[in-house]
């Protein structure tokens, strides 16, 4: 009789669970917790822009209207507004788009490309005096019309070139730069021509309004002295 060896019975080994996913999950949770917490604190600290609708209705509190009086007021206001409306021919200058419109009885009869002020500031290094090269905004009037205008160059025209303004007034005259016609609209501002046609449509001037030759002639011939000019 042979002794058979009993098979060795070993207890099953429990499966080994890797620990790294748990570690990663814990790390992620920690990061999320820190980030979320920080974000919540920062959000609490911050003051973002929040919108509320603009109430377009009239404010309450006005006295009970008297219909007859209201109607009279409305008629009077409409009449006053009608009185100040420009009549006949007027000029509109759009300083952003660099366009000049000639309007007659509410109808645009000519639109032209123009050049307007740069909006820059020039400073005189001698005394700190400054000039702002803005085309004015508002209503002006054509005060004077001149054929073959001569420009008496002001100080800024020299300072801009890095030159000292001359003491002899004769050295200031320039009969080429303004073109064939000039319409003076007050305070030294002029609607005039230009030698530099390729710069039309751009903001390059010192405040004057420059036009091409044909448009300038058309405006000069159609616009009487006293015509209103609206610049915006």
């Amino acid at each position: 009789m042979s002794a058979e060896a009993e098979p060795l019975v070993t207890a099953p080994t429990p499966p080994r669970h890797p620990r790294w996913p748990l570690a990663v999950a814990l790390a992620l949770a920690a990061v999320l917790l820190v980030c979320g917490g920080s974000a919540a604190v920062l959000a609490r600290l911050g003051r973002p822009f929040l919108a509320a609708p603009f109430d377009a209705t009239a404010s309450p509190g006005a006295p009970e209207p008297d219909p007859v009086g209201l109607r009279a007021h409305a008629v009077a206001a409409e009449k006053e507004l009608g009185k100040v409306h420009p009549r006949g021919v007027y000029i509109v200058v759009d300083g952003y788009r660099n366009r000049l419109h000639l309007v007659e009885n509410g109808r645009v009869i000519r639109s032209a490309v123009c050049s307007t002020g740069t909006g820059m500031v020039l400073k005189d290094p001698r005394n700190g005096k400054t000039w702002v090269f803005d085309t004015p905004v508002g209503e002006r009037v054509v005060e004077k019309k001149v054929k073959h205008p001569v420009w008496a160059k002001p100080d800024w025209a020299f300072v801009e070139e890095g030159l000292l303004p001359p003491t002899d007034p004769n050295e200031r005259f320039d009969d080429a730069s303004l073109g064939d016609y000039a319409l003076y609209i007050g305070d030294g501002y002029i609607i005039h021509g230009t030698l530099f046609k390729s710069l039309l449509g751009r903001r390059v001037t010192h405040g004057c309004v420059r036009l091409g030759d044909e448009d300038l002639e058309f405006v000069y011939r159609h616009v009487p002295i006293g015509t209103r000019v609206y610049l915006y």
Binding site: A39, L42, A43, R44, L45, G46, R47, P48, F49, L50, A51, A52, F54, D55, A56, T57, A58, A62, P65, P67, L70, R71, A74, A77, E78, E80, L81, G82, V84, H85, P86, V92, D94, G95, T118, G119, M120, V121, K123, D124, P125, D134, V137, G138, E139, R140, V159, L163, L164, P165, A176, L195, F196, S198, L199, R202, V204, Y230, L231, Y232
Partner: protein, 225 residues
């Protein structure tokens, strides 16, 4: 009998129609008209903001020179999240006046370092001025493009904020904006702004009216003008 009933119906209908045509004018509209008359009597350019029609008009003497369509009108104020402490609406109709705007301040400075004497006429004769046709085109100093988002301070204590992009108002957007602002404040870079009436428009339109936003500009605010 039938005829008299018909006649009475006709009469009451006619009376009703006559009364409808006799509706007294809206007091707010009359007030706005009177305010506009006050502005139109002056030789200035002014604006009319109509929140109902969502347009901003550039006007002078009652004439519309330009119209800017608005994509939004909101009252924007800096608030902590989850608070509802919005400022009350300013009364309208009213005339708002710009106390200071970007048209006053956003300027480029040109300053030569020193000035030299102009060349004499006889010196110029050595190099005669070419005829106009041959005059070379000068290179103009490039004019910077105006901003598309800017604020103007009004005399009534409000700000007018012109922008091409309203701040995000959805939950996530607001939260992220709050976090960003909180981070800026933590670094001492936070900014506090006055409540603003915010007009949203295209970037081109915002740039177009940039130079008009300067001190003294009057803006008539009235609905249904």
């Amino acid at each position: 009998m039938c005829r008299s009933v018909l006649a009475s119906i006709c009469i009451s209908l006619a009376t009703g129609l006559a009364r409808a045509g006799d509706v007294p004018p809206d007091p707010a509209r009359v007030a706005a008209l009177e305010l506009e008359v006050g502005l139109a009597k002056r030789p200035v350019v002014y604006m009319v903001l109509d929140p109902q029609r969502r347009i901003l008009e550039v006007k002078a003497r009652g004439v519309v020179l330009d119209t800017v369509p608005l994509t939004g009108i909101e009252i924007m104020s800096q608030q902590r999240l989850f608070t509802h402490d919005h400022p009350t609406n300013p009364p309208i109709p009213a005339v708002w006046t710009v106390a200071q705007g970007p048209g006053d301040t956003d300027r480029e400075l040109v300053a030569p370092e020193k000035l030299v004497p102009a060349p004499k006429a006889d010196e110029e004769d050595v190099e005669p001025t070419p005829p106009p046709d041959a005059t070379p085109t000068p290179t103009p100093t490039p004019v910077p493009l105006p901003a598309a988002s800017y604020r103007a301070r009004l005399t009534n204590g409000w700000d007018l904020w012109i922008t091409d992009r309203l701040p995000p108002q959805d939950r996530i957007g607001s939260f992220l904006a709050a976090v960003r602002d909180g981070w800026r404040r933590l670094r001492g870079l936070g900014e506090d702004h006055a409540p603003a009436i915010t007009l949203a428009m295209t970037d081109e339109d915002a740039r177009r009216i940039h130079h008009l936003m300067q001190s003294g500009l009057a803006i008539l605010v009235a609905g249904g003008m």
